[in-house]
Subunit: 605 residues, 2 copies
Amino acid sequence: MTDSSSAYDLMYSLPPIGGNPSTHPQQTNPGSFANPPRIAPGVEGALTFSSPDTPGMPGVSENTAWDFMPEGWELKAGYENNYETAEAWIPPSDFLPVTQLEFARCGTITPEMERVAEREPHLTAEQIRDEVASGRMIIPANKVHLGYQLDPMAIGRASKTKVNANMGASPVSSGTEEEIEKLEWATRWGADTVMDLSTGGDIDGCRQAIIQNSTVPIGTVPIYSMIIARRLEDLDHASILQMLKHQAKQGVDYFTIHAGVLQEHLSLVTQRLIGIVSRGGSLLAKWMLHNQSQNPMYELWDEICEIMREYDVSFSIGDGLRPGGLADGSDRAQLAELCVLGELTERAWKNGVQVMIEGPGHISFDQIEFNMKVQRKLCHGAPFYVLGPLVTDIFPGYDHITSCIGATAAGYHGASMLCYVTPKEHLGLPKKDDVKQGCIAYKIAAHAADVALGIPGTRNRDDDLTEARAALNWEKHFELSFDPDTARALHDEDLDVDTDFCAMCGHDWCSVRISKEIQEFMSGKSEDYAWDKAKKTLPLTAEQQEILEKRGVLSPDQIHKLASKVKQEMTGDQDKASCHSDYVAPEEAQEMQTSKQLPVLNQKL
Amino acid sequence: MTDSSSAYDLMYSLPPIGGNPSTHPQQTNPGSFANPPRIAPGVEGALTFSSPDTPGMPGVSENTAWDFMPEGWELKAGYENNYETAEAWIPPSDFLPVTQLEFARCGTITPEMERVAEREPHLTAEQIRDEVASGRMIIPANKVHLGYQLDPMAIGRASKTKVNANMGASPVSSGTEEEIEKLEWATRWGADTVMDLSTGGDIDGCRQAIIQNSTVPIGTVPIYSMIIARRLEDLDHASILQMLKHQAKQGVDYFTIHAGVLQEHLSLVTQRLIGIVSRGGSLLAKWMLHNQSQNPMYELWDEICEIMREYDVSFSIGDGLRPGGLADGSDRAQLAELCVLGELTERAWKNGVQVMIEGPGHISFDQIEFNMKVQRKLCHGAPFYVLGPLVTDIFPGYDHITSCIGATAAGYHGASMLCYVTPKEHLGLPKKDDVKQGCIAYKIAAHAADVALGIPGTRNRDDDLTEARAALNWEKHFELSFDPDTARALHDEDLDVDTDFCAMCGHDWCSVRISKEIQEFMSGKSEDYAWDKAKKTLPLTAEQQEILEKRGVLSPDQIHKLASKVKQEMTGDQDKASCHSDYVAPEEAQEMQTSKQLPVLNQKL
């Protein structure tokens, strides 16, 4: 409750980044290009301009979770200017820490913090404790889930950028077993957390099974379960708290709760092109209008905190008013809700509960830095968990790409976790390959952001792959790839032998091969990657065959040929792939490309 | 030749953005995360730090092409401080303008400038002329190609961001007819220019046919043709000029010439992880080492300019030392070459030739803004034509994504044209679908950058699509999509009727439908998009069937069902798709989803 009124001041005195007229600007004056006028939110009629170089971005908040201590904690004398440490505080005499935040406030390093330090080798357990205490990092780890197989992880600006994948049964699809299969698939492709957004089937049993089987934190949006077999309008305070308690007890690690969308915001939405696109947000808006009452999640906030504290469930405070199109990006509705999210963050910290904040879905590329910074200002550095954002609206079918562009910039400018978007976004329920494509696009975004941020060690694998590439060591190249099967399959599609060029440029035109010829440029110096002769490669695995089948470039016969080109090894010996030594002479390899036997190079495009 | 020595000063006194140690930083001190030391290029031993907020980026050059006028042009008295206009200058008495740059310097608006103004409605023909005169924009339009079917377009910071697609026959693949087919395919998916990088087949006849058939500018890398049937080492000045003259006469619109990589740079390359990855760069390096002579392209620069001026061929000055991995990004070799590119730009302008500059291939996300700005500084605002850059190295098979992230940031921070990268980059020769995927990823990048830059009108289609989405008007939604067939196919895969929800959330959980229910949020207000009843959709077209077949989610039977669900229209009447009116009741549509007849929703992930 402290200085969130100043948040509004910030919002309306901001430099003119973001904000959009609600109708298309007319192109009546082509001469205005150099400085196209834009209307800042809340500054009707003011003509302002945002450029890449606009100065005056909001600064980081001066506060941390140490500024929002619970009632009863006493600051020791002499620590007034140095209170951001456990030493400075005396907890109430009967205080027993429960949440990771509370342990951190007491100066305790928990086993979960130790484990996170193992998984984030650039950070010590002490640093992790201090980041958790400051509110800039969370360890979403429900005590119940810790009793099963949860492997603790952290979400925060100082740790590596994380990726979330959404899954969940729909009213007509899939049972518990299939959801477990989805969970394994998503984590195989790198999901660091998974949200179970089920809206149908045996929701309760399914959630239970997911939690018991998951090594990654599980998030839910509890309002979905609250309105199963109940009219939305009939939802009441008692049933809300009951469902939250039930899911907390089951072991859910974080709850998305859309408590920031308030009655007074609803009029701001009417100017939008696409209203409310958050499911939770639209449901609560409908409830508020029908019941002529304030958002019950907001009203119940402190009671909700109490339930969550008991099991150490973390908040993922939902952005019910996130923009659903570029036209609505950074508008008054979105920013007004964000101010409330800041207030809710402060109140959660006062209750000892860990918090992250959800962020916008569609905003143009120029507004991303601003969005990340204003969130860090208003929410005092609580981890930001963003959906995309999509940086254009006109590419349905490719929104894993439109959004991972935004996610990379978001990660670089301050987001801590990126919620994936699949190619099926806006179109239908994602299928297995969509989940994979979404995960990979987001692993790219998270990794690119970490490299850009200079987190120590994150670029090592890139550099190792570059060395293998320089040495034209294809086997190493693919081993170091994020998706080795796809890389190998695409390579072998053209050329089923590993030699000192690839089919893209061919022998005579390979710059890397030419560089190697020039002794002074000797690349691939590392002996680990050196090799001399062209190698026969293993036949395609079943997985690689499937990749090529789906591409549809080669005929079944051609794929079969690649799959049986040498004696198929069926021993299941994983080491085979990296130790075989069927060499072919370089001349032979070159001949293979220039002879007309290669199936693809001659193919009509 | 003017102030490029100060360019070196700039380079070595730069704020500590970019530059990478040549070996992996060891993670010995986890506490150093907050300020990971990096070594700036050329400042051995200096510990410096780059963060997103590092101030002190290089400013824009104070010079333009008006500062590099040819010999013999006379500045009128009184115009010393106002010389950036045709009025200020008296050309030599016998001067006849040939290139677009020269016409612009004379104050003339050419028919090509008029045409560009039609295609870029936010700019007037006068503005285009002035941008061309300043060197910040080029119109690559060989006079010979204008005699065929070339539709003039512009590349520059003030115009919309452009996309280039590479194609070309390899030593073993494809003939002229197939290359023409590739050309049509690339332009269908949005390529604004095409580079013919052929290294085999009937190179000359193929180039001729491409030029005659192309409505978009064609670029080449002439050194490739120069060394066909000749040992690289034997290449001499006469044969270089001969081939350039020949291709200019054929009608090539721009030449990539790697004149910036000099003998003195070669020692800088030895510290790299992956040496030289530019084909032209590696060939010229090999030539220089063998002949112990300076780069012949550099030596011949003014003579080359003379040939290019005669036909108005534009330069795309190649970056022979572009980094081939993150580890080599923004290193001394790259920046040293860039300084020479600035000098070559000045000399080209003095010769009346239009210039763009090629840029880096692999640099981390944090270094993109720096790279764009240092180029604008050193090359005085000449248009920057970038390849990617890739922002991570470990995702071969997905490099259309890793690179379109970098391309978006590059476009936003100053690049004018983006050279596409396909999923096959580093692995093999791109196939038809790879070309499409590469084009689409780059159309996303270019469009997202244009929207972010606020170019008037560029967001209109996004907003129209958002309105259609808000109105749940699927037909409009897909018509406004960049790839309507894919969007429609993915939608129909789950639900072959258009109704007021999609299979992602289903009826009860559709936020947009709920928003529409709430009168106050009435989205999709525009009457253009309004519709009331669920609609039966047309059967899948052959193209849409193929998309679903390749996804491999549905069985052939299921796809057949979607393709024949209503009487197949074989009239070829394109209007059918948007005017049919087979309505189904909303209840029936809802029933369709909840009944078990839908093929996919029940499918195991």
